[in-house]
C-alpha cells in the first residue's frame, strides 16, 4: 500500500526517471534524521545535531535564484518569528555553492542559514532520499524533525510548486502541543 508521499512521488516521476533508478524515497516520519555537517558561510559549518532539543524545519530546494524557490524562501523568511515562537529552527539546503547562497541570501534579505550541499554534491539530499540524479539538484522537500532528531513529517512537492508553510506549521504545532502535554 503506497502512502500519500509515495503516491505523490509516483505521479511526479516520469518513466525515464524511473529507469535511471532515481526512485530514492524521501525518509519517512519515524525515521531518525541522519546527522550532517554543511557550510553555512565560507568559514562556518552547521550540524544537525547542534539542534537536538528543539524542532528543526529542513527545507531542501532545487536552486538559488529560480523564481519558485525565491517565493518559498521569502515566505519562510517572513514566518521566521512564527517558527521561533514554536521553538523551531529553520535551515534551507540546496546544492548551490556557499558564495551563491551568500549572494542569494543578501539579495533576498534572508535571515536564516542556507546550507551548501555542494561537496560531495547533494550528499545530504541523498541521505534524506531527495536527490534528483537526472537534474543534479535536490527535490523540493520538507522535513520537520523533532527535538530528539526523529523525522515527524515530510513532504516532497512537485518541483515547480511552492509548497507553502501550512504543512510545516501544522507539524510544528502538533510537536509544540505534545511538548506542552509532556510538561503537564
Amino acid at each position: 500500500m503506497l502512502n500519500e508521499l509515495d503516491q505523490q512521488r509516483a505521479r511526479d516521476m516520469s518513466p525515464i526517471a524511473l529507469s535511471l533508478g532515481t526512485s530514492l524515497t524521501a525518509l519517512r516520519p519515524g525515521t531518525k534524521a541522519p546527522d550532517f555537517v554543511l557550510h553555512s558561510t565560507p568559514d562556518q559549518t552547521v550540524s544537525l545535531s547542534e539542534f537536538l532539543g528543539q524542532p528543526v524545519v529542513l527545507a531542501f530546494y532545487p536552486a538559488d535564484w529560480s523564481p519558485v524557490c525565491g517565493d518559498q524562501m521569502a515566505l519562510y523568511n517572513e514566518l521566521l518569528s512564527t517558527f521561533h515562537g514554536l521553538n523551531a529552527a529553520l535551515l534551507g539546503v540546496s546544492v548551490d555553492g556557499i558564495w551563491c547562497h551568500l549572494a542569494f541570501a543578501a539579495e533576498r534579505k534572508l535571515h536564516f542559514p542556507l546550507l551548501s550541499d555542494f561537496e560531495p554534491k547533494g550528499g545530504v539530499a541523498r541521505q534524506f532520499g531527495v536527490y534528483r540524479r537526472q537534474d543534479g539538484t535536490s527535490e523540493r522537500a520538507l522535513f520537520v524533525i523533532d527535538a530528539d532528531g526523529i523525522i515527524r513529517w515530510s513532504y516532497v512537492s512537485p518541483l515547480g510548486v511552492n509548497p507553502g508553510a501550512d504543512g510545516v506549521l501544522r507539524a510544528l504545532t502538533t510537536l509544540s502541543e505534545e511538548q506542552g502535554d509532556a510538561k503537564q
Binding site: Q8, E78, L79, R152, W153, G164, G167, V168, R170, T174
Partner: protein
C-alpha cells in the same frame, strides 16, 4: 499529521473582523490574501472589481493582508495604513488608492493618500509610528500561511484555495462553479456579460 498535498482550505473563517464588500449572505465568498506592493496583486485588483461587477449581490469579497515585507519594503506599512483607515471607516477607499498607486507607497505618499480620502492624518501617522496595527497585519499573515497561502495573490473561493489562473474568465468560471447547481444555471449569462 496531514500532508499539504490535500486541497488547502481557509483556516480562519470569514468573520466580523474582516474587511468585506458585498452581502454577508452572498452564496459565494472570495477571499484574497494580498500585498499592496506586489505587482501581481496590482494586476488582480481590476480583475476582482470586474468579477464583483458581474456577480453583484451573489459575491462577497474579503481582503486580508499578506505583505512580503522583506521583498517589498513598503508593503507592511501600506497594509498598516489600510488598517488605520479601517479604524476610521475608510478601509476600501484606502485599499483602492493603494492599489491604484502601488509604485508610490513611501511614508509621505501614504499620508497624502490618507488626506485625499479624508482621514484624520495625524491619527493615522500616530498609529503607524506606534505600530498600532502591526499585530492585526501579522495575524492576517500567519492565518494565511496556515491556510496554505504560498505567495500573492492567493484566492480562496468559499473556503477552498483557488490554484488555477485568475484572469477574469478563469476566475468567473471558478466562482460560478462554487455555486449550487440551480444558481449556476441562472448565472450562465454572467460568464459572458
Amino acid at each position: 499529521m496531514r500532508n499539504s498535498d490535500e486541497r488547502a482550505t481557509l483556516v480562519v473563517a470569514v468573520s466580523e473582523r474582516d474587511h468585506a464588500q458585498g452581502r454577508s449572505d452572498a452564496p459565494i465568498t472570495l477571499v484574497e490574501y494580498g500585498d499592496y506592493e506586489c505587482p501581481h496583486c496590482g494586476r488582480a485588483y481590476p480583475i476582482v472589481q470586474e468579477v464583483q461587477r458581474r456577480l453583484g449581490d451573489q459575491l462577497r469579497f474579503v481582503f486580508r493582508n499578506f505583505p512580503l515585507s522583506e521583498m517589498h519594503r513598503h508593503a507592511e506599512l501600506a497594509a498598516e495604513a489600510a488598517e488605520a483607515a479601517a479604524h476610521q471607516d475608510r478601509f476600501w477607499p484606502m485599499h483602492d488608492t493603494l492599489f491604484e498607486h502601488q509604485r508610490e507607497l513611501t511614508d509621505t505618499a501614504l499620508v497624502g493618500y490618507a488626506e485625499f480620502i479624508g482621514l484624520d492624518t495625524q491619527r493615522m501617522e500616530r498609529e503607524l509610528a506606534s505600530g498600532a496595527h502591526r499585530g492585526r497585519v501579522r495575524e492576517d499573515f500567519v492565518g494565511g500561511a496556515r491556510s496554505g497561502v504560498n505567495g500573492t495573490p492567493t484566492f480562496f473561493i468559499n473556503g477552498i484555495r483557488h490554484d488555477g489562473p485568475w484572469d477574469v474568465d478563469s476566475l468567473m468560471e471558478a466562482l460560478l462553479a462554487s455555486l449550487p447547481l440551480a444558481l449556476q444555471h441562472e448565472n450562465k449569462h454572467a460568464r459572458r456579460s
